[in-house]
Symmetry: none
Subunit: 413 residues, 2 copies
């Protein structure tokens, strides 16, 4: 069953972020419908008419959002009525409901609000429990359906979940089950990751495989359709088991599991505490680690040590090391990790130093040069990195990499 | 000049939020172009071909995002080539640039990356300064133009601003002028802020006024159209001067100016240094402050002090205070601010303690209770707050509020 989502509203063409279409797309996919097109059009009769005609020609179900309000710019129902050659009438039950809505809130009702109760003949009127504009379902002679939903996200989501889903289930039957699973990877670029599982991507059908770059991570998303949830789930598990060995070095978690969540779980499982000395990340790694509820059980604290003075006094880096090798060096990172571990009496210490830019580079030390040290019961692991991008990109990549190196260190114990 | 934006990528049909199309729409509108349609289509040859044909039939300029990557799912250029009956060739300069991109980063290049250098004949190739996929501009015999941009937002925005805008100006001339200005506010909720400037919102025409909630801030965006930049600019300035007195207490900056940027500028202007003792924010305020290039001139360092032990040893909070008043108390916040200021020899000290939740509440101290102290040459300012929302919401609100209180403290000196 092919669905097309049409978002109406000039504000979207001016650059407002659309959250209605993603919501509908996500829910419809979960229900087993294929959303193949999304269109956005302004509050203009001719162009909206074109877009609705195109959608009805290529899709089984067309769902619009927006344009059901009381103003002259709200024209969605009228445009559909003219596309389908339907007349409009005043739907008395909606008039009563809208009047009640205003009376209950001790608000005056503008006459224009009655526009919201005008309906194309033959419409199935859908009550709006969060606002005034009713929704509309029209069943066409050729079996297709067009559904008009209000634009405000709260009204749209509630109406869709409470009324439209039950309608779709009655009208088209349950569409089977869709199960999705995300394998979250870090540390290998998208093309090289794809090369490793190329054979599976080429051979994909059901489940599908999609690679997505997300905030520095690469996500591998498997999506399966089945008659039942169990069937779809089995298809996912089978494919995952095949793919896993090729990229297991880079998979750190699944679905909603972030690097800070995974490392936090490992720390908690081993009953370890952690302390950090952060220079170029400026506290970002500590902030990420403490995003996790319960992190106070393993996170003792950290020192953000931008100045050499703080590195010496508060972290215990020796002035001689700073002088000889510089603040951005292997030796300093090592000394930071070991110093903070000792000073905060933690099981694990992390030291991070680098040049986030745009200033601070020297001939031998470019912007993006970063050293990360992780010290603990098995000695100290140290890595050198060259990151690129803006100051924020470099901070973000450094933070993710530090969390990933912490994860690997913990797994190696 | 009518523009249509086509977003490609199956992930968008599955419900991922689209930020590329809003970005392009916003910029194009500012430049005076009319964005009349937006379409979204998956990585499917036949359907993408349909959508591109429809767009070329009704718009003068068609801009696509996505599908220029190295994978088999990246088909945008090929689809356009087949719609326009163009053959594809390997663009040697792009091959060299992509090879250099990988070599500079000491990364291996997958063979599939060369797909990104395949171009439709006659293409104007646009360099990608942030990634590997070049952009493509094709000028059709009928005067229309189709432009392919990469999907990753950073690559798309930089390429659009650096290369596409100059191209459009050359090809189509300057389209009149739109000027926008954002007044960034913090500390007053959207309904109350709207009430203060209600008369201007009701009377708006050109310029328009829009209120937008953004990551805890409320933005007031003024947008004016004029024949010239100067004319549009004057309209903005006139309206801004009228609105300003009503909300001046809450405006902290304009356009791209973040709270960390504004506070950083104030610190630098006064030649002050700052140090922080962060508990419930876990390093987030330090990370924000160090997002600003050059922050090493005023940011000395901070201690993230989750455990009482660290508060005592590293920040200098007295054990007696912690015992008597608890870690989340006015007295502890005060002592943290003054302790870190002294210990790190900084001009300004900030102490933040609170309960980010979901655990940690007591009968007298609910989740969301936060104390923020700012100490400096004029003594110590202390505020109590009750924030709500998730752990991340509370961390974010606390960080913004701390930056705002730092700003007010600095302005009061």
């Amino acid at each position: 069953m092919i669905v097309e989502i049409i978002s109406t509203g000039t504000e979207l063409l001016l650059g407002q972020i659309n959250t209605d279409a993603p919501y509908l797309a996500k829910r419809l996919n979960e229900l087993g419908y294929s959303v193949l097109f999304q269109s956005t059009v302004g509050d203009n009769r001719e162009r909206m008419s074109q877009v609705i005609q195109t959608a009805l020609s290529r899709s089984d179900i067309v769902i619009t959002s927006g344009g059901l309000g009381p103003t002259q710019g709200d024209i969605t129902k009228e445009v559909t009525a003219s596309v389908l050659n339907l007349s409009m009438y005043l739907h008395e039950a909606s008039v009563e409901r809208i009047k009640r809505f205003f009376a209950q809130r001790h608000l005056g009702m503008a006459h224009s609000n009655l526009r919201q109760a005008m309906m194309p003949e033959g419409a199935i009127v859908v009550d709006n429990t969060c606002g005034t504009a009713p929704g509309v379902i029209l069943e066409l002679a050729n079996g297709k359906v067009i559904i008009h939903l209000p634009g405000p996200p709260r009204e749209l989501t509630v109406m869709f979940d409470q009324s439209v889903i039950p309608y779709l289930n009655r009208r088209f039957g349950v569409q089977g089950s869709i199960v999705s699973k995300v394998l979250r990877t870090y540390g290998l670029g998208e093309p090289l990751l794809e090369e490793r599982i190329h054979q599976f991507i080429l051979a994909q059908g059901n489940p599908t495989i999609a690679l997505l770059a997300k905030g520095g991570e690469i996500h591998v998303r498997l999506t399966a359709k089945g008659e039942s949830h169990a069937e779809a789930q089995k298809l996912i598990t089978d494919l995952e088991n095949k793919i896993y060995p090729y990229i297991s070095d880079y998979i750190f978690g699944f679905d909603g599991e972030t690097l800070e969540y995974i490392t936090g779980r490992l720390l908690a499982a081993k009953n370890f505490t952690i302390a950090l000395a952060e220079s170029c990340t400026g506290g970002l790694v500590s902030s990420r680690l403490t995003d996790i509820p319960g992190s106070s059980n393993y996170f003792t604290g950290s020192v953000v040590c931008y100045s050499n003075h703080i590195k010496i006094e508060e972290v215990g880096v020796s002035a001689a090391i700073l002088e000889k090798f510089g603040a951005v060096s292997q030796e300093t990172a090592l000394s930071m990790a070991e110093g903070i571990q000792r000073k905060f009496s933690a099981d694990i210490g992390i030291g991070i130093t680098g040049i986030a830019g745009p200033g601070g580079a020297t001939p031998n030390k470019p912007v993006g040069l970063v050293y990360i040290a992780v010290s603990g019961p098995k000695g100290t692991a140290l890595h050198e990195h060259f990151f690129n991008g803006s100051r924020l990109d470099i901070k973000n990549r450094t933070a993710l990499t530090a969390l990933n190196e912490l994860r690997k260190y913990l797994l190696s114990l």
